[in-house]
């Protein structure tokens, strides 16, 4: 339909080199004291994958699967309980103080809720420009000039530099959040559900902006979302998470055309398509029940309690490793592709 087509991942070799490499990352949150003391929420429980330079890696899963926690751990907002996060081959987990701060310039985050993530008592100019002050990059006129520039890039009127967040709509606030993430010229951005709080007619504006920014500034995205339609649209590769584990990673096209993990397949079949004729023919694979508690995840494969093809005892006793099932398509399943 349109003339503008985005570069497909497999023809662009620059997208083959890992920019961020995550190895066996674990994030546990202790809960309660007294009687409940000693219990932990296993939000992220041993996750390894890589994000390649210039690509968008979509991270999908249902609420409570640990995808947002993982994003925050990678962006260094939560310390990892264990594991390694390599950014340009430097392990962020071992960095402290000034060295970590310096790395953070290259690693920014965009948040889901554009209402909660902006300080209501700061002007837009201060919100967007604050990182420049924090990192002693620019002050005064130079800072204002850069803020103006970034506002324009993000589709905000620089004339609104002295206004406060409440004077802006949800979509504009998300642009402010994006401008703030962009002002330090980062290479890697973790975007955690950046459009799910927005109205339908506004979502496309933000999706297109993220794409344009990626093309213009050679950004690498970790795009976290539960909306698989948007993830498909934006991502070169997709990682599917279930209860603190990655269950499948593959090229976007492979994962949608040929999902190997039964959870991925069920998830895809659950998404309605805005086409009544297609919908009439589709039969969703309905999963039993809901996602179990991450405090006490099932033994063996964590999906076995809801899996339509689980076989016992193997699935309830042996945890399947995430391994390559051919041409880089990774899945953690004893019976891949059999649903």
């Amino acid at each position: 339909m349109t003339t503008e087509q985005r570069v497909v991942s497999d023809v662009d070799t620059s997208k083959q080199i890992a920019l961020v490499r995550i190895e066996e990352v674990v994030k546990h949150f202790p809960i309660g004291a007294g009687l409940l003391g000693g219990q932990v929420v296993k939000a992220v429980d041993g996750v390894s994958f890589e994000v390649r330079g210039g690509e968008t890696l979509g991270l999908v899963g249902e609420s409570g699967c640990g995808k947002s926690t993982l994003g925050r751990v990678i962006a260094q907002l939560h310390p990892a309980t264990s594991g390694h996060i390599y950014f340009k081959d430097i392990d962020l987990v071992t960095l402290k103080g000034e060295k970590l701060r310096r790395m953070r310039q290259q690693l920014q985050m965009i948040f889901q809720d554009p209402y909660a993530s902006l300080n209501p008592r700061m002007t837009v100019g201060d919100i967007i420009g604050e990182p420049l002050t924090n990192f002693h990059i620019a002050r005064g006129k130079a800072r204002e000039k850069r803020v103006n520039e970034v506002m324009r890039i993000c589709g905000l009127n620089p004339g609104f530099i002295s206004r406060y967040p409440h004077e802006f709509s949800g979509g504009q606030r998300q642009r402010i959040g994006i401008a703030r993430a962009l002002i330090l010229n980062p290479t890697f951005i973790v975007a955690d559900e950046p459009i799910s709080a927005l109205d339908v007619s506004i979502q496309a504006q933000i999706v297109n902006l993220l794409e344009d920014l990626q093309d213009e500034f050679k950004l690498t995205y970790l795009f976290i979302a539960h909306d698989l339609s948007v993830v498909r649209h934006l991502s070169d590769r997709v990682a599917v998470m279930y209860l603190g584990k990655i269950v499948e990673v593959a090229d976007s096209k492979q994962i949608y055309d040929n999902p190997l993990h039964p959870y991925t397949k069920a998830l895809l079949s659950s998404i309605p398509i805005p086409d009544p004729d297609l919908e009439a023919e589709r039969e969703p694979i309905l999963l039993k029940g809901e996602i179990p508690s991450p405090v006490n995840p099932p033994t063996g494969c964590r999906f076995h309690t809801r899996c339509p093809i689980a076989q016992f005892p193997i699935c309830s006793e042996q945890e399947p490793p995430l391994e390559d099932k051919g041409s880089g398509h990774q899945a953690a399943c004893h019976f891949p592709g059999q649903l």
């Binding site: 794409e211 498909r232 805005p274 029940g289």
Partner: protein, 316 residues
């Protein structure tokens, strides 16, 4: 909301689609006369029942409306946690919903609780009836709400964003449940949502709302295949689809939905419309029939707009 007229046939599934602030929830609330102060139904009629013996909801006395709610029409909401009493057992609340209407004897009501929970596919319904709402997951609470709503065998179930707070796999379960209940019990369903794909999946007819008005309505297939209002047309092109490969730019609708305290003159969509003509700025179009069964509130209509500017069809 301003001058909204539509009908729902017996056993039909109708989707009302719109963004936040488009008036879709207020429309549904009005059917049950639940509009919160200072809002009010200033004019109009809401007729319910068979031709010839229709009742007007707007004219009902308080006793009549109490009977009407629950007995004839039930409603379920987006957040099932806030719609249930946290200190009462789920089974008791379902029984209470029946007791309030005296359609069933106390014993009948008691005996109906477990089958109702079973009907909405809550596992181990005998045990679950004795649980409190917080012991239920989000999807189960929504099922319990549906059980409560259906316990008096209403003719119409209004579901206001019933799956928005739920995960996609649970959303699929709830949609499937609504589809089965509609088919097996003949309960008509009004589904209020911002999600066009959910409408495509469940509803036979769709009503699109914008700025408190119906801008388009008709059979779901027809609306999705050949939308005539630019808002519907743009909305359908602005959402990424799971079944599309191309990394094409999404079509964007510029600007924001209007502030309803100070709506624009003429067509309420004209400030955001890429197909507007001079007349749109001054005069609000009527909701006119454009095809058999399909109505649109537009001076231009997409078929004319696209014939005049075919290159627009694909332009983002």
């Amino acid at each position: 909301m301003d001058g909204v007229s539509f009908h729902v046939d017996r056993g039909e599934t109708v989707g009302i689609v719109g963004e936040s602030g488009s008036g879709k929830s207020v429309t549904a609330m009005s059917i049950l006369r639940l509009v919160a102060e200072p809002g009010r139904i200033a004019s109009g009629r809401i007729l319910f029942g068979d031709e010839g013996k229709q009742k007007d909801v707007v004219q009902m006395t308080d006793d009549e409306i109490r009977e009407f709610r629950g007995n004839d029409v039930a409603m379920i909401f987006q957040d099932p946690m806030t719609s249930m009493n946290p200190v009462l057992k789920v089974g008791f609340q379902i029984k209470e919903a029946m007791a309030a209407h005296e359609r069933f004897t106390p014993k009948q009501a008691r005996d109906r609780v477990v089958p109702m929970l079973k009907r909405v596919r809550i596992p181990a319904p005998e045990d679950r009836a004795k649980n409190y709402p917080h012991q239920f997951s989000g999807g189960m609470r929504q099922r319990a709400m549906i059980a409560m709503g259906l316990s008096n065998e209403p003719h119409l179930l209004i579901a206001d964003e019933p799956t928005t707070a739920l995960d996609v796999t649970v959303q699929a379960q709830i949609i499937e449940l609504l589809r089965d209940l509609n088919r097996d019990l003949g309960t008509a369903v009004i589904l209020i949502t911002h999600n066009l794909a959910v409408v495509a999946s469940l509803c036979t007819r769709v009503i699109v709302m914008y700025a408190g008005r119906i801008v388009e309505e008709g059979p779901t297939r027809q609306i999705f295949k050949s939308p005539q209002h630019p808002y519907t047309w743009s909305l359908l092109r602005s959402i990424p689809r799971l079944d599309e490969y191309q990394h094409e730019k999404l079509l964007t609708i510029s600007g924001l939905p209007p502030d309803l305290t100070n709506p624009p003159p003429g067509c309420k969509f004209h400030p955001r419309c890429r197909f507007r003509v001079d007349r749109c700025l001054e005069e609000e179009p009527p909701l006119g029939e454009v095809d058999p069964g399909q109505k649109a509130r537009c001076w231009v209509l997409m078929r004319n707009a696209l014939a005049a500017q075919p290159q627009q069809a694909g332009q983002p």
